[in-house]
């Protein structure tokens, strides 16, 4: 909702990675004017500050390696990224896409449009975060049910159980282990693998 985004923007912690020239200063001033908590850093740091919600980063070709390294460390998740570009050529675009920018500001930097960029980029980032969580949850679920399927198949073909009996066997094992279905099913599948190796290994 538009109004929620505006509320989220107030007090947003923004890091401005930009040379401290008049454009960089004017950018930081306008972000303060909008009501964001703004800090500046240049040259590019070695690591992203975990406390930053959003980063404006000047995309310059002479710093491309440092830029790539900075945004490569994805394990803790990236903040919202808005690239500041002086060129539109494909190699600059390549950099912008590689760092995963959700928004772009072209030079010369003007105050007009920054608020909109912030709102759109942040909104996009939030949706990406939500989608990422959803995907991970579904993957787990899917993996779980695949494992349960395999275990059921083993019990049905090897031990001659019915589908329902197989399911209940896995479920009982899960309860006695105080574990999930996926866990119990994995035990059965793993045990079967070992047996097969032993059987075929000799």
């Amino acid at each position: 909702m538009a109004i929620e985004i505006l509320r989220d923007l107030r007090g947003l912690r923004i890091e401005v990675m930009h040379p401290p020239d008049s454009e960089g200063v004017s950018l930081a001033e306008h972000l303060l004017r909008i009501g964001c908590v703004t800090s500046t850093v240049w040259p590019l740091p070695d690591e992203l500050d975990v406390a930053s919600d959003l980063v404006f980063v000047a995309v310059e070709h002479d710093g491309r390696d440092a830029l790539r390294r900075l945004f490569a460390c994805r394990d803790r998740g990236l903040p919202t990224v808005i690239a500041v570009v002086g060129y539109e050529d494909p190699s600059t675009l390549q950099l912008v896409l590689e760092i995963g920018a959700q928004g772009v500001v072209e030079r010369p930097i003007r105050p007009f449009g920054l608020l909109t960029q912030l709102a759109v980029a942040r909104s996009l980032w939030l949706r990406q975060q939500g989608a990422g969580r959803q995907v991970r949850r579904l993957e787990r679920k899917l993996a779980g049910s695949r494992m349960v399927q395999r275990a059921r198949l083993i019990l049905m073909t090897r031990d001659g159980m019915s589908e329902e009996e197989a399911y209940q066997t896995i479920r009982r094992r899960a309860m006695s282990k105080r574990a999930g279905m996926e866990d119990a099913a994995a035990d059965i599948v793993d045990a079967h693998k070992i047996v097969r190796v032993q059987t075929h290994g000799e």
Partner: protein
């Protein structure tokens, strides 16, 4: 411009206010006040011995025309300073031109905030200087169930959003939100009138602008509603719009602005008297005119101090000046190019005159990005003692 000894080449100020079209009435007051201020400066010897020459065009309330004429003023006529604009759509049309030519726009009109340009000085009220005090006054005096009626463009939408947010914080509610065309006629207000009758709000917040204002207030009167119980509250209904309606239609409704023609302080009385002496005894003298007036005074002072009308120097000098405007001492806030102003609320009496019903006596710092827009952000000592403080919903 090069200053040669003895040269009397005038300082040329571009002026863009509408003499025709939907917002002509109030813009004409701004034009008049600009001329009055220029004449006053010239009567005192001008700026550094050189007179001001206004270069005036009429954009007829049309944003495209504003754009074209701004181009002419800055490109062909080579002015650096532009005094003008009322509706936000016209300011938006002019600003890119001013920015491209590194000029300065002096914008003397209340607006919806959320803007900053290094090439614009905003001398009208930002939302925290009119919407916020109006909301506090209305919620305490009439209630918190609101109905919105506005003209169909960006300013009413955004003002309504802000007012809705204030109402939400105070535990109020918005019963309906109705938009009419710019230059709406009586039939366009039929739905609004029906809804008022059906929903019976505590307050109608009107962001209808220009000559449709009188149409709306007349329609309200025809429907027989009572302003003592359901007032129309506005930021834009000024003496100019009131002059276009009957006294019966005007009576009892409320407006928030830093200036009214009845303001009883010496600088205000002098301003109104001088204005009426120059433009006619019965002339409407509006808050928009007052801003147009003091902004010329401020800029003249800045050029005097800087010795040039170049953007950077004028802007730097403006940040250092204070001027005793009709509303009170005002100054520009250089961090956002907006102006410290004195908010007030007035109610129309039976003779169509604005009676000031609340004057907090504080000068309020402009906050165009509503960074501090909290209900309790308003200074406590400004609250009128006779009115109960608004409370959260029970």
């Amino acid at each position: 411009m090069v200053l040669t000894p003895g040269a009397r080449t005038p300082w040329r100020f571009g002026v863009l206010f509408s003499r025709s079209g939907v917002t002509a009435a109030v813009e004409t007051t701004q034009l008049n006040a600009t001329i009055l201020a220029i004449e006053s400066v010239n009567a005192e010897g001008g700026i550094r011995g050189r007179p001001i020459e206004p270069v005036i065009y009429d954009p007829a309330s049309n944003p495209k025309q504003f754009h074209v004429l701004a181009e002419r003023l800055l490109g062909k006529d080579r002015v650096r300073l532009l005094f003008g604009c009322y509706m936000s759509s016209t300011r938006k049309a002019v600003l890119p031109v001013v920015e491209a030519y590194r000029g300065l726009l002096l914008y003397p009109t209340l607006y919806e905030g959320f803007e900053y340009s290094p090439n614009c000085i905003y001398t009208g009220a930002a939302p925290n200087q009119n919407s916020l005090p109006l909301a506090r006054y209305l919620f305490g005096r009439y209630g918190k169930r609101m109905l919105f009626v506005g003209s169909n463009y960006v300013y009413p939408y955004e003002s309504n959003r802000i007012m809705a947010e204030l109402a939400r914080q105070a535990g109020g509610s918005i019963l309906d939100e109705i938009y009419v065309p710019l230059d709406a006629g009586p039939r366009d207000f039929a739905k609004a009138i029906r809804e008022i009758g059906r929903l019976r709000p505590d307050v109608i917040f009107s962001t209808v602008v220009g000559r449709s204002t009188a149409v709306f207030y007349e329609a309200y009167r025809q429907a027989g509603f009572d302003p003592a119980h359901i007032p129309i509250a506005s930021l834009t209904t000024s003496e100019a719009e009131v002059a276009e309606m009957t006294p019966q239609a005007a009576r009892g409704h409320v407006t928030a602005a830093p200036f009214f023609d009845t303001l009883a302080r010496p600088a205000a009385e002098r301003f109104v008297a001088t204005y009426r002496h120059r433009f006619g005894a019965g002339s409407a003298v509006t808050a928009a005119a007052e801003a147009a007036y003091f902004q010329v005074t401020l800029v003249a002072g800045a050029i005097e101090r800087a010795g040039t009308d170049e953007l950077d120097f004028v802007r730097a000098a403006l940040g250092t000046l204070e001027c005793d405007a009709p509303q009170g001492p005002v100054q520009i806030d250089p961090s956002n190019n907006h102006t410290y102003l004195w908010p007030r609320v007035a109610e129309l009496d039976a003779q169509s005159r604005f009676r000031i019903v609340w004057d907090p006596g504080v000068r309020v710092r402009p906050d165009p990005y509503c960074v501090d827009q909290r209900w309790d952000g308003w200074p406590e000592q400004a609250w009128p003692g006779s009115l109960p403080l608004p409370t959260q919903v029970q």
